[in-house]
Amino acid sequence: MKVLLENLPLLLPLIIIELVLMTVALVHIFRHPNYRFGNRAVWILAVVFIQIIGPVIYLLFGRGEDE
């Protein structure tokens, strides 16, 4: 783990990207009641706990239409 901690500044962008994706997906989840599949609880868990892939899957496939 020492290797990772020493190079934290290099890894910071990765963490920021993950946080941005997660925030955007979470905001969208809370603003919209309808999803193409799944429900709110499932999506929140997926977006928060599956890094990168969770938010991307939500924004690409799970997101309901903006009406």
Binding site: M1, K2, L59, L60
Partner: protein, 255 residues
């Protein structure tokens, strides 16, 4: 020309509002950062997690490893994201019937095709450029001068051209089959077909897929620019054919 500009603008706005820009930009940025990082730190991490007393000789990572990671990630993750993002473009227009009004008002049908192709190509170019520049920056940070090699630009260009072909193919698939799955299957089919044709000796030289598989060979010097020239020509011709086909089929289809 005015219709073309307006429709391209509409496409850009749509990408923005459906989070396509966000997802694509961030994923490609991520690939750009991760590739050199993975090349640099994977050996050290492996050492860390190795059981006590176990010895494996690990080569010192070089800039070539970083580019190997870069090309692997972009072809395996980047291109798939690209095709998934843009395959729904035609299908959603058909599905929602949003094209009926504007086409009835007299916008030429081929404008739709060209505008969609332009917007998707621009998005791909931007995201890919971002990915490449980030990867290059990190590679330069770790290895300085080693990160650059003469074949690098051409190698990167080859993969870009292959992405453009995939966009044209998914557009054509979307026009033909009217569904996301049709478009995805068509694009996937084109790639699989090339893998099959690759078995035929000497055919590989002309197949667009070598643009996405020979990148490392170019950097290592086992392939030269001339080896890929024919593949680049076929790719360009195929792209034009797909676009012309899309215009032709779309002109005849009932909306």
């Amino acid at each position: 020309m005015r219709e073309y500009g307006a429709f391209t603008k509409k496409e850009f706005l749509e990408f923005f509002r459906t989070y396509k820009y966000l997802v694509m930009g961030l994923v490609f940025l991520l690939l750009g950062i991760m590739s050199p990082l993975a090349a640099k730190f994977l050996p050290e991490l492996m050492k860390e997690f190795m059981p006590e007393g176990m010895q494996i000789a690990l080569a010192e990572p070089s800039a070539l490893d970083a580019w190997a990671q870069f090309f692997k990630n972009v072809t395996q993750i980047g291109l798939i994201i690209l095709v998934i993002l843009f395959s729904g473009s035609m299908a959603s227009e058909y599905g929602k019937g949003t094209l009926v009004t504007i086409l009835a008002k007299g916008m030429p049908r081929k404008t739709v095709i060209f505008a969609k192709f332009t917007a998707a190509s621009a998005a791909w170019t931007g995201a890919y450029l971002l990915c490449f520049l980030t990867a290059w920056f990190y590679a330069w940070y770790f290895w300085r001068g080693e990160a650059w090699s003469a074949a690098l630009l051409f190698s990167v260009f080859c993969l870009w051209l292959f992405g453009i072909l995939l966009i044209a193919a998914s557009l054509f698939g979307g026009v033909l089959f009217r569904t996301i799955y049709g478009s995805l299957l068509f694009t996937g089919g084109i790639v699989v077909l090339q893998f099959l044709l690759n078995i035929v000796p000497k055919a590989g030289k002309y197949l667009p897929v070598s643009l996405a598989s020979q990148n490392m060979a170019l950097l290592q010097g086992t392939a030269v620019t001339a080896d890929l020239a024919w593949a680049a020509v076929t790719t360009a011709v195929l792209t034009v054919l797909f676009l012309a086909g899309s215009c032709f089929v779309f002109g005849k289809k009932q909306i």
